[in-house]
Symmetry: C2
């Protein structure tokens, strides 16, 4: 016997397809919405639909945007000679939150991963090389800000030789102890990088 | 500068309003949907809208349903002389999953909580008493299956004297060690209830 409303079961199933949402959480979310005012629930549904309709990819940097070029690529206040190469739009969000970077971005749309079958053709690598090439010398520096893990390092190592002949400075984000971190609990990799990258004490 | 698409920010904010979803999880869910096929995303939005449109409350047991009376109340296969009183529709779902209960339900819509200002008028208590009264003796037993916590016990204790004059057996769910539990890690309350409720060994 179908003992729960089919529409409730359907929503539980849809929620459970989202990453990190198990069946129990999906149930909890569904029953929360069931008790919520109709207009709040409608706002969530509308926000999902609108996002899919309005969000496009910037044809210059491949970040998500509602206008092409995106506000960062279109801004004269940003330094277009400094490109920060990241894996995902979420990385752009994270860097923008620091409010310290005034350059522009290039979103690769992932990292090279032979294990998962993600090759150079799946990423915006050719577009990055073309972008630097066609800037007629405007691009001075490319920060290869892929993730500090195997795939990210591999991707940076793959891109570097393609850009080097174009006469740009290539950099990578500093590695070391995270702020507020505890030396005692740092993993060996992080600690050895922190030692390697030690800087003169200015105090 | 607005550096992320407004529609993305809007959806992150809507997700973050859900219980147990922090800003980081809201971001992750939003970017997951951004990468998902449009029809999967549309299904989630539709499921939310449909649930709010189609789900009503059964006028007999006050469980959520798409038909009134609900399939359980309408079923001749269920024992209408045995009513299981629970706090929430989720409790019905949990009991139905055990596939051992053949009676019907009564959903109170919460538990009495003087701290949160939830009184008898906020719950479907009067409706429960009327339901038993008007059954002309058909209801034999009422299981007061409110939660095994302070509010649940208080609610059961409040309802019991209202039903007792109506000549029905009143029961409460057994308390004891959970299946697969470990005596060593059981809290004192659970352990003392398990001792109190010990039963003859049939083995």
């Amino acid at each position: 016997m179908q003992t729960t409303a089919a529409a409730v079961t359907a929503l539980i199933e849809e929620f459970a397809k989202l990453p990190g949402i198990g069946p129990k959480t999906a149930q909890r979310l569904t029953f929360f919405l069931l008790r919520s005012p109709a207009d709040q629930t409608r706002r969530l549904a509308d926000a999902i639909i609108r996002m899919k309709e309005q969000v496009i990819t910037c044809s210059t940097c491949f970040n998500i945007t509602e206008t092409d070029p995106c506000p960062i690529c279109a801004s004269p206040q940003r330094d277009h000679g400094l490109i920060c190469v990241v894996e995902e739009p979420l990385d752009v969000l994270a860097i923008e939150k620091t409010d310290t970077f005034r350059g522009v971005y290039h979103v690769l749309n992932g990292a090279l991963s032979p294990m998962e079958g993600i090759g150079p053709k799946d990423l915006r690598i050719a577009e990055l090389v073309a972008r630097v090439q066609h800037s007629s010398g405007e691009v001075r520096e490319v920060i290869l800000a892929t993730n500090p893990n195997y795939e990210g390092d591999y991707t940076a190592a793959y891109i570097a030789p393609l850009l080097r002949p174009l006469n740009v400075t290539l950099t990578r984000l500093a590695r070391g102890l995270p702020l507020g971190g505890d030396l005692e609990y740092a993993d060996e990799g992080t600690l050895s990088r922190a030692l390697e990258g030690r800087r003169a004490f200015e105090g």
